[in-house]
């Protein structure tokens, strides 16, 4: 035995260690994979030996190979062996390997529970620290549940090093095992005032992470944080606290008012840019939430903007970037203060750093007004000429179009100008996708703005002229699509239709869809031209044109593209018929009553109108259609039998016995999981534009089994869509004439209409959420979050009201039941409020004002509701600014 050991030791000396491996890989650059596979064999050999140091050497090498992308999960058991070594050196290797390769779903983890527990309670602080660090990377629900008490005990360790790590570890435990939060919270709160600054900072870190997702549960900690903020000098921690306040203020406006002063003091005093920046950010957040009742509100905004200007003017690109980022936040609520710095932002457009230019572009979007739009676009056009790199050019183009078209061309006063800009843009070089954007925009403007049509059409005719007379493609082909379509559709606006027709007839090889549009619009234009000649009796000219068109269409007939073939053959036949008719007329045999051109034009009568994006939603549900009714009878199983069997039926069709219980990959879903998956599906449905939302009634029937059978829901789409399409058309036609009369006010009116209509139809949750976003108000927003929020998000489970009596005083279940009750009540209440709001909105157009009032009322209510005992104390704390100097 002893001999064996000695032999092992000697052999070990000549094993490759990590350094050898790295060196070997570097020396075998040509056949690295081969070398590594050879090493893998060696490693497997070493792992078979009894000696732990040999194993640890092998594991160290594996950890390196893991970084290079090799899967080492097969060695999991060996890693655990090395972790269990009594030597710190070996243990370290094992724990490192574990933290790199294990994850919370590793099955091997169940083997580690006791070992890690032993390690956590080790006398040596570095051993338990090691275990904590490693565990933080792969903690699973089971581990969290089993070890939460051990980690909780470590919070009161005498060693700050352990306390610090345990505090951070608790957060990971909470994520996996939310039940641990309530009992652990008092201790965690204590750690906020730990004598060791490291522990304190860790605790702040954890609470910030918790509060970021569920801020309203942590409002009661505001006084503690306030005290920390005014006393601490640890910048890192201050940043965290200030960020946290940024998340809390939307829920408690009074907190915001209290914060303004110390924060402005900090802004004045601090020399750390990171802290300054976060202060500004939070002040902005505060100012956004506080209504303008604040006395020195304007001064604070001014201060922020000034400081940001300093950041933006700094030579450090990072500060510049962040400054612009923060500016864009101010822009949303206080556009005027930002507009004052237009010069600076335009200057940033010329920065050599693309990220900064893009940020500046974002800002421009909000800074335009009717007055300065032309000026800004002109500058952007200049940049466009200078800019190298298509990404930035494309972004510039998109931004120009976005700026001009926002709110249905709210800021465009002169559409002739805008069309000219578009035409200019069309003659520049962009990435392949951009032509489409310009084309679509041109068509949109012309359809929406009737007055601009003569001008736009003449511009388009010119474009076509240029296109046909020059050989090189200076104009983007996608724009030609728009040009051809516009000239055909609004042929009556053309000054020289025949010239345009001839220009269009000269088209050369074009992409399929564009060529098709050309052919189609040639016929439209031809019909128009023909009428002119027919009225004057110049039949010869018509025949000439017919021949020309036939020749050209004959060419297109040979096209390889189906669409083009079809279009050209149809058109060809039409032209031939026309020709025959005309010949008849010329021969005097025609009837002479109906003009041929009139017949032809009849093919293209009717106006095309823009379709509102929400049109589909506004379709009222036809009478007698019950959305909740089953289309097919639900499978009996799902109702009568247990979930277990449903899963069996779904996933295991044939080899039931073989697959059954032992090897099943999918674990049996618990109630909780089913609920979660149901919510996940709902969330997905809400975000899926193609998914027809069900009515409110349906949504509330949460506990029904309906959602368990996806087939039925998918089927619902079909009949609805068919009905919907026709109805929406009708609706649009009705609205069309109204829409066109007044262009600029249209958007606003339209919006109101649509929202009220939606309310009539008792629309789905998406709309409601949107409105909530427009009126960000603490309780409502987070409540709706809790009902339709992210399901994957582990933080959902952490939404625990910590102000309720702690767990050791009340039985857990009772508390939870209470919470449930509370939630239900709240959601009901909210619903009531919402409905009320909707009703009110329906009655008057100036919904905004009243909404504001309501908001205020609500704020008032929420103020009353909040337990104030903890908070009042904070009011007394003064904030001497000198402390920060």
């Amino acid at each position: 035995m002893a001999l064996k050991k000695v032999k092992g030791n000697i052999e070990r000396m000549f094993d490759k260690n990590l350094t050898d491996l790295v060196r070997g890989i570097r020396n075998n650059k040509e056949n690295e994979a081969k070398y590594i596979s050879q090493c893998m064999e060696d490693i497997k050999q070493e792992l078979r030996q009894d000696n732990l140091s040999v194993k640890s050497n092998a594991i160290a090498k594996l950890t390196y190979l893991q970084m290079l992308g090799y899967d080492i999960s097969w060695a999991g058991f060996n890693i655990i062996e090395v972790m269990s070594s009594s030597k710190f050196t070996l243990k370290r290797i094992g724990y490192l390997a574990a933290s790199q390769s294990f994850h919370c779903d590793s099955e091997l983890l169940m083997l580690t529970t006791n070992m890690i527990r032993k390690e956590l309670n080790s006398q040596n602080q570095y051993e338990s620290g090691l275990a904590l660090t490693s565990l933080s990377c792969y903690i699973s629900t089971d581990l969290a549940r089993d070890l939460s008490n051990d980690i909780l005990t470590l919070l009161s360790s005498t060693k700050p090093y352990i306390r610090k790590k345990a505090v951070l570890m608790m957060y990971k435990v909470f994520l996996k095992y939310p039940e641990a939060l309530r009992p652990a919270f008092p201790k965690l709160k204590e750690k906020l005032e730990d004598p060791d600054p490291g522990v304190q900072s860790a605790a702040v870190n954890v609470v910030c992470e918790l509060a970021r997702k569920n801020p309203k549960n942590y409002l009661s900690l505001a006084p503690v944080f306030f005290k920390l903020m005014t006393t601490s000098t640890n910048n890192w921690m201050l940043i965290k606290i200030i960020k946290l306040f940024g998340a809390l203020t939307p829920l408690e406006p009074r907190l915001g008012q209290k914060l303004i002063e110390p924060l402005t003091n900090l802004i004045h005093s601090t020399s750390a840019m990171s802290l300054l920046y976060e202060c500004i950010n939070t002040v902005i957040a505060v100012l956004i939430t506080i209504s303008s009742g604040m006395p020195n509100h304007a001064a604070s905004i001014q201060l922020c903007v000034q400081k940001l200007r300093i950041l933006i003017e700094d030579s450090d690109q990072n500060l510049k970037y962040l400054g612009l980022l923060a500016m864009s936040k101010i822009l949303k609520t206080h556009p005027k203060s930002v507009q004052a710095h237009k010069d600076l932002i335009l200057q940033c457009l010329e920065d050599k750093d693309e990220s900064i230019r893009l940020r500046a572009l974002d800002l421009l979007y909000g800074m335009v007004s009717k007055k300065n739009l032309m000026e800004i676009v002109k500058k952007l056009m200049v940049h466009m000429d200078k800019a190298e790199g298509t990404i930035y050019r494309d972004e510039l183009l998109n931004k120009i179009i976005l700026i001009c078209s926002q709110n249905n061309y709210q800021f465009v006063t002169n559409f002739e100008w805008y069309v000219t800009v578009l035409v200019e843009l069309a003659q520049m070089e962009f990435g392949s996708k951009q032509g489409h954007v310009i084309g679509a925009q041109l068509m949109d403007v012309c359809i929406r703005v009737q007055a601009i049509r003569p001008f736009a059409v003449s511009e388009m005719a010119q474009l076509l002229d240029v296109y046909s007379s020059t050989s090189q493609f200076t104009i983007m082909q996608e724009v030609l699509y728009a040009a051809a379509w516009l000239c055909g559709e609004f042929a009556s606006e053309l000054k020289e239709p025949e010239k345009t027709l001839r220009a269009m007839l000269k088209y050369k090889s074009l992409p399929q869809h564009i060529e098709a549009v050309f052919i189609h619009n040639i016929i439209k234009l031809f019909a128009h031209v023909m009428r002119g000649y027919e009225e004057e009796g110049q039949y010869g000219e018509i025949l000439g044109l017919c021949d020309e068109i036939c020749v050209k269409l004959g060419e297109s007939l040979k096209s390889g593209e189906l669409e083009v073939q079809e279009r050209s053959s149809t058109s060809l036949i039409i032209v031939q018929i026309v020709k025959e008719e005309i010949e008849k007329v010329m021969g005097g045999t025609g009837e002479g009553e109906n003009s041929v051109s009139g017949d032809l034009l009849a093919l293209f009568t009717g106006e095309l109108n823009p379709v509102a994006p929400k049109a589909q939603k506004k379709v009222p549900i036809p009478e007698g259609l019950d959305l909740d009714a089953w289309i097919n009878e639900p499978p009996e199983d799902s109702d009568s039998s247990s979930d277990h069997e449903v899963f069996d039926n779904l996933f295991i069709k044939t080899e039931k016995s073989d697959y059954g219980n032992s090897v099943r990959y999918q674990p049996e879903p618990t109630e909780e999981e089913i609920r979660k998956s149901r919510e996940a599906r709902k969330y997905e449905q809400q975000n899926n534009p193609h998914y027809l939302k069900t009515s409110d009634v349906d949504k509330n029937a949460n506990d029904s089994n309906i959602d368990n059978i996806p087939v039925a829901e998918i089927d619902l789409n079909i009949p609805l869509k068919v009905v919907g399409q026709k109805r929406s058309d009708k609706y649009l036609n009705m609205n069309a004439s109204r829409k066109k009369t007044k262009k600029k006010n249209k958007k606003k009116k339209h919006k109101n209409e649509s929202s009220s209509d939606e309310e009539n139809a008792n629309e789905g949750p998406v709309v409601e959420v949107k409105r909530d976003l427009e009126l960000p108000e603490g309780a409502t927003l987070s409540d709706s979050d809790s009902s339709h929020g992210h399901v994957d998000d582990p933080h959902r489970a952490l939404n625990i009201d910590l102000e309720l009596p702690p767990v050791y005083e009340t039985p857990v279940k009772a508390v939870e039941a209470k919470e449930e009750e509370k939630k239900v009540k709240k959601s009901k209440k909210n619903k009531g409020e919402k409905e009320e709001k909707e009703k009110k909105k329906k009655h008057h157009d100036k919904g905004a004002k009243k909404a504001k009032k309501e908001k205020k009322e609500k704020e008032g209510k929420s103020k009353k509701k909040k337990p104030t005992s903890g908070y009042e104390e904070a009011l007394g704390i003064s904030t001497p600014s000198k402390e920060f100097q």
């Binding site: 990377c137 990971k172 900072s201 890192w236 990171s274």
Partner: protein, 191 residues
């Protein structure tokens, strides 16, 4: 939260990868590759923030990086971290490495990736910042190194001797020994 910490060189070779959220190995490699492509095409005089790559994170995540000589240090963080704070943290990390390795260079990271991990573990734990005070970090690292040394003691002597011999890299040295170029020498001989 920090989602990942990556260190790679100017050619995109990974020198350290630490993911605080699980990704399978091949995905990790793709992320490293994508991050490298995003970061490497940026000039040195542009800002150090990047909107997150498509593979890691999403809109809430940012890449914050610093470029030192041949190495990129990239942190992928969400919006709860302060951008400038993370930049400082990277600086602390690098300075700590510099103290521990005495003038750190890429080779140190290549051959002692385990040590780099141990150092990083004293700064960041499970995606959260553990300590930013460099002296505190250094004491902790020192203490643990001492612990290792104590354990090694005499028992490790033979192994160390062997590795010393290995480090001499005899085959390479034999190759490197320059014998006079005989044919040339012969030619040079003048009869």
């Amino acid at each position: 939260m920090i989602k990942a910490i990556l260190v790679f060189n100017n050619h995109g070779k990974p020198r350290l990868s630490k993911f605080y959220q699980y990704f399978p190995e091949d995905m990790q490699q793709q992320i490293i590759k994508e991050t490298f492509q995003l970061v490497s095409k940026r000039d040195d005089n542009v800002c150090n923030f990047l909107e997150g790559g498509s593979l890691i994170g999403g809109s809430d995540y940012k890449l914050i990086y610093r470029h030192y000589a041949t190495l990129y240090f990239v942190f992928c963080v969400d919006s709860s971290e302060s951008e400038l704070g993370i930049l400082d943290l990277i600086q602390v990390f690098v300075e700590t490495l510099d103290k521990c390795f005495e003038n750190v260079c890429e080779l140190d990271l290549i051959f002692h990736v385990d040590k780099v991990h141990y150092i990083l573990n004293e700064l960041v734990m499970g995606g959260m910042v553990l300590e930013t005070n460099m002296t505190e970090i250094l004491t902790r690292i020192e203490d643990q190194n001492k612990l290792e040394k104590q354990e090694a003691g005499i028992a490790a002597a033979p192994a160390r001797a062997v590795s010393a011999v290995k480090n001499m890299n005899i085959p390479q040295q034999i190759k490197d020994i320059k014998l006079p170029d005989l044919p040339q020498a012969i030619k040079d001989l003048k009869f």
